[in-house]
Subunit: 363 residues, 2 copies
């Protein structure tokens, strides 16, 4: 497949919203023992459960490092396509391509953003990230689509959400961080987003809930659920570790209008009742520079990190009192989808959740 | 995708002939420096030329080891799909799946034969072959088809040719060799071929032309070109290194009938006028146990090692006086195909040719 030396906007392509029809969802298999506890075995079961839940709605492809190929094939449901694909870790939302679509021709292409492990040598989460950096191109080859490379412009898929009608939602904490594109102004970043997503308005939420990890990706805070409508995390509990970000984001979004001039309707999405903490007796390889995962540590657990797919919404569950409420609230936002909860404590222990470990290809 | 615990014959599947319609051709990228001269760089150019020639007729997928991914993507024509796939070397005819088809439903499945590098610990060509052994399953996953595993039964795709109407052509030298299935009798092997290819007659040519390498694969000696018709290598020159095998095979095939009782029509295919020898000043890594490739060494160069694909036949060329004659003879055998010559001296230096480095998926 080819690299296209142009921009999606120039060629009449736009990024569809996640709630538009999809043809496939891609994932990457977790294994690194310095991030996933107990050699990644508990996480692998969770990823398999997520893949199976998605595969009720659309086909799923799992990319796996060479050494884990047979194990992944054995654990995953036979309906999942298992392909070899090297990665440094399993966050395909962030290292995978952002697919764009030309509505006139139906053609799909990929945007292959520069990936630097959430901050590169400034505050990135691991080194090297050489294999992650090739994932977007490899997914485009598998999908049989040409791609655009944003030479030098760093972005992760988890830091943006679009409505498919000209608006992108992101955070200042992430996109203006020192480890991404420190030489670009806010205006320059807006222009690049306009060129590659074909949007005309950027809504800048201030902060995310994980400054130390992704520098505050939007996909733990808010997302579009329909044109003119967003969901936002919300809690009244001042003891909640994410209380202030939730309150501020909700209040901010209630005042915003989208690219078409609509004032946003904002749906509240609950947080876990009690902070989700890492539990149990387990082992993580000690490697200099990676984030420790310790017993009792508070996890970045948001119900917002769901995946919308064709006919279904796959929702994180933590074994928390609010699990059912979260599914119920999300079901109410998506009357034409089936909201399905999947227990993903093991995914959150590794630093993300269902949205972070999936990447959808539009139909 | 699933493993099917049955046999193709039992489920109504048969191996189509190579001249039946195809949907895709798979290849593997060459790199090992103890087999391919000068770090595989000349061979990589040849493989790219073969891939491009095939892609005029059907889509081509190239499987590439992790470290060579970017280089392969840069060298190959953009129309070629490049996917990550580990292998020990690049002979996908032999380690890849044999595809079978159910004519009633149109469903395709794969047969994943046991692979042991052409003789395992008896007289195999390298160790280990662990990644080659996974190629068939990985290709089936890419193709999205279920597969059969012939637990314990060793076979390479280059050791069989079928007419799609009940007949398989093979050699005693290979299938009865000590390094394949020494505990199985000829009758037992025939029964397994019947089960997995859905054939009712085996035509046993005695010898191949490369006893030291593949133990005499049929695909350097003869193949079906149509139901009831085979091509066979032929030379009148007693100085030709493959004179006696060519003479004996031709005489033998002229006396054979196929599964439908038709006496075979045998087309003569010329050999290179002069033995093809390895030429030039080059380097191959010295590794114990691999075959040396030395200046002046006679290569196993047969024009028979062509690939039939939909609408085209891709024919090896050596820079020999008989190159044009070979293309002309093959063109005459395939009046509805376009015979295309590709210079593949570098492929033959590594021990095979176009048929050995390709595997077709039926439409």
């Amino acid at each position: 497949m080819k690299r296209i030396d142009s921009t999606p906007k120039n060629d009449g392509f736009r990024m569809p919203a996640e709630y538009e029809p999809q043809s496939r969802v891609y994932m990457l298999w977790p294994e690194r023992p310095d991030n996933w506890r107990d050699g990644g075995k508990p996480a692998q079961k969770s990823f398999a459960a997520v893949a199976k839940a998605i595969s009720q709605f659309v086909p799923v492809t799992m990319g796996v490092n060479q050494a884990q190929y047979q194990n992944a094939r054995a654990i995953l449901d036979p309906s999942i396509q298992v392909v070899e694909m090297s990665s440094n870790d399993s966050w395909i939302r962030d290292c995978g391509p952002t697919f764009v679509k030309n509505d006139a021709t139906g053609e799909i292409r990929g945007v292959d953003w520069e990936f630097n492990a959430w901050g590169g040598l400034v505050d990135g989460l691991y080194f090297p990230w050489d294999q992650d950096a090739l994932v977007a191109q490899k997914v485009c080859e598998l999908a049989g689509v040409d791609s655009y490379k944003t030479e030098g412009f760093v972005l992760e898929g988890g830091s943006i959400h679009v409505d498919g009608e000209g608006t992108v939602l992101t955070t200042e904490m992430c996109l203006l961080s020192e480890g991404r594109n420190p030489d670009l102004s806010r205006d320059e970043i807006e222009r690049i987003l306009a060129d590659y997503l074909n949007i005309s308005k950027v809504i800048w939420v201030k902060d995310g809930i994980d400054p130390e990890e992704t520098n505050g990706h939007i996909d733990d805070v808010a997302c579009f659920v329909a044109p003119g409508e967003v969901a936002c995390i919300y809690t009244d509990d001042p003891e909640d570790p994410f209380y202030s970000v939730a309150q501020e984001s909700y209040a901010f979004l209630c005042e915003q209008t989208d690219a078409k001039g609509r004032k946003l309707k904002v749906h509240k999405l609950c947080m876990p009742k009690k902070p989700v903490t890492i539990k149990g007796d387990f082992a993580i390889d000690s490697v200099e520079g990676t984030l420790p995962r310790e017993d009792g540590e508070i996890c970045i657990a948001s119900y917002m990190n769901f995946l919308i797919t064709t006919g279904g919404v796959i929702v994180p569950q933590y074994g928390d009192e609010n699990d059912a409420l979260a599914v119920e609230q999300i079901q109410a936002m998506f009357p034409n989808h089936k909201a399905v909860g999947v227990m993903t404590r093991e995914v959150v222990y590794g630093g993300g959740n269902i949205h972070c470990i999936t990447q959808q290809q539009p139909a």
